[in-house]
Subunit: 217 residues, 4 copies
Amino acid sequence: MSEKLILGISGSPRKGANTDFLLQTALDEAAQTEGIRTETIYLRDYEIHPCNSCFACCSDGAEKADRPCLAFKDGMEEIYPMLKECSGMIIGSPVFFGSYSAQTKAFMDRTEGLLRYGRSSYGNALSNKVGGAVAVGGNRNAGEEFTLLAIHYYFHIQNMIAVGTGNTPTPGCYLGGSATTFPQKGRVKDAVKDDELGIKSAKLLGNRVAEVLMMMK
Amino acid sequence: MSEKLILGISGSPRKGANTDFLLQTALDEAAQTEGIRTETIYLRDYEIHPCNSCFACCSDGAEKADRPCLAFKDGMEEIYPMLKECSGMIIGSPVFFGSYSAQTKAFMDRTEGLLRYGRSSYGNALSNKVGGAVAVGGNRNAGEEFTLLAIHYYFHIQNMIAVGTGNTPTPGCYLGGSATTFPQKGRVKDAVKDDELGIKSAKLLGNRVAEVLMMMK
Amino acid sequence: MSEKLILGISGSPRKGANTDFLLQTALDEAAQTEGIRTETIYLRDYEIHPCNSCFACCSDGAEKADRPCLAFKDGMEEIYPMLKECSGMIIGSPVFFGSYSAQTKAFMDRTEGLLRYGRSSYGNALSNKVGGAVAVGGNRNAGEEFTLLAIHYYFHIQNMIAVGTGNTPTPGCYLGGSATTFPQKGRVKDAVKDDELGIKSAKLLGNRVAEVLMMMK
Amino acid sequence: MSEKLILGISGSPRKGANTDFLLQTALDEAAQTEGIRTETIYLRDYEIHPCNSCFACCSDGAEKADRPCLAFKDGMEEIYPMLKECSGMIIGSPVFFGSYSAQTKAFMDRTEGLLRYGRSSYGNALSNKVGGAVAVGGNRNAGEEFTLLAIHYYFHIQNMIAVGTGNTPTPGCYLGGSATTFPQKGRVKDAVKDDELGIKSAKLLGNRVAEVLMMMK
């Protein structure tokens, strides 16, 4: 039987830094479950225009062209098929001003054509898939929770199943992986590796995404 | 095969008013799914002391007595077995000061013994069950969303699966049933019956709770 | 000139434990500002019925009797005059299931008569006063932020000025005082005293409430 | 005496559509207060790169060059001086996937150099200024509240004073201007003009921003 894909999405502008690490920690843990494989998309490697709200994704044109976005031909063209293929998704973002990065949001906004309204074959592409979130903040209680809630909101609108860290005592965070670079400065690229509790929460999140995915018929 | 129970919890202090109606609307819709039955608990009918944070639910005593709460013998004694029995739960609350009523929260806080830490046979009683939420506010955008997010937070901590309104276009709200008594005054007991969009969102939520429940192995 | 009062409200059921300590830390810091005095109300010392949503506070009866609540004669009778008198308020709550305790919410819900609708002389009693919040959670990112947001929501509905921790680098939390008993268990009454960052955030919050209060004409 | 500036920031990609209208409604109301003038920035008219998290804004280089961002020379160069000049700010965003648009967030993320850490003369540029928010959603309870909370979070981190709609009964929303294009489709450019309650909330928000601004010493 073919393995089920959990897709990691990193919204960090910095290669190999804290958010990438925390996301990979979650994905690696998910991959411990038999029947799961993972891939990671680093949004910074793609040109992604923000959605211009043209609504063409809901038009006859989108149906005829079978494209989830008619406004731009950019990096999303490579990402869309992977969104269709995956069974689960883990979004990782640094916490900027209390919520996800603009880069993370640009990706989200460009998945409008995957909603119920989408007229191409990508319409409903994410429905009933399992979603998890991880966030890294420069202060300890400084938007990590809010970022996870914001990513959950995205999952709900995509009709996905938003899950948290499962049933382990003292997970650090219930909503998802939550880590901080504090007391080091956010610019220190591996600061989050010292945050044991944050790493624990990311592992739990990864495991839970896999677990619920396998629980679904 | 025995039917699966979705338990409705009404946190409204007012009998037969707007929150009761919206909750019942959601439950009735859920019951349309074959294999689902529903029951409704009106918290106002029970004496429920707020949690005094004694942590006895996590003690040897709780295990020996096999009781999820050693601090109080009150209405929760009747409710606990139903929480164990149910496969899904829909919590309905009026919006008071932007979030759930104190009555709704007192019920939640008293389910500490059902968490992973709970030492009685009620420990983990809600794990992997499906949860949905409905809220009624006196203003249109006045805490309905926040109340639903707050109830979702409860579900996540109980390791439940928090679901929204599913995959229908223009659901009114994605997170759950969301209705308002506006432009009538909140005190008008059936004001919410004029809120078609709110009723639609409650129906969608009820249907989605049943749908996801049936989707779980 | 008479001093301005910042009222502390503790929603913890446990005397002298972590929330009380964090709240007092914030209040003591506020009191460093000349012209400020503080008092602390421990909600557990009062009998406070949850609001029954009778709307009598908005009736002619409330005006005639000049009472902000006609439904109950309980501990709130002592608290109402202090709410009228104060210039600022700091609410402290333990984090229960991701948000404030039922006890904290019961207090809030019973201040309906202080809203714009209130017909007694208590109507608008909190308008333009400055509000701050502190929260203590048993896990590190486990509802502290959400609790602070929920208390802010209360302040906004009361037309108060909700403030955070001000302008210091690495405050730990921007929204208010945020501390955790982790890695000790929540039941350890002075666990929060080991959370330096949490204590820092509470001090900053207290200072900011005083600062903004003095900034208002 | 020179007038105080309230700066409007529109994060809508669509010219002259619903968000622009709602934002202008708020600004026009604010301008009714004597001593207030307003200007509106449409982010779509500027090239704004998302923050690449280089932290140069906190470096000696930023101090020497006296520039709040060393990474990009783009449209923000024109906007930064207006952020320094203004006394208040109203941010308007369409609701995309439950929160602000990526465009709105890119603007926010690029104001990192205006924080307490900023080493140029733009450091602390927004501190103690008054902030308000308006949001337009395609569904009624579909992220409007969450978007306003997310914008408030931004204000708190910038040490601004986040205000809501003030003290009028039935404001529609307490947190800010909240309107919906429903039951018309979001693509209808003037759909929000039919939402009387949403327009009311935007006017109240504009008025409140001006009111609190004038209340500050």
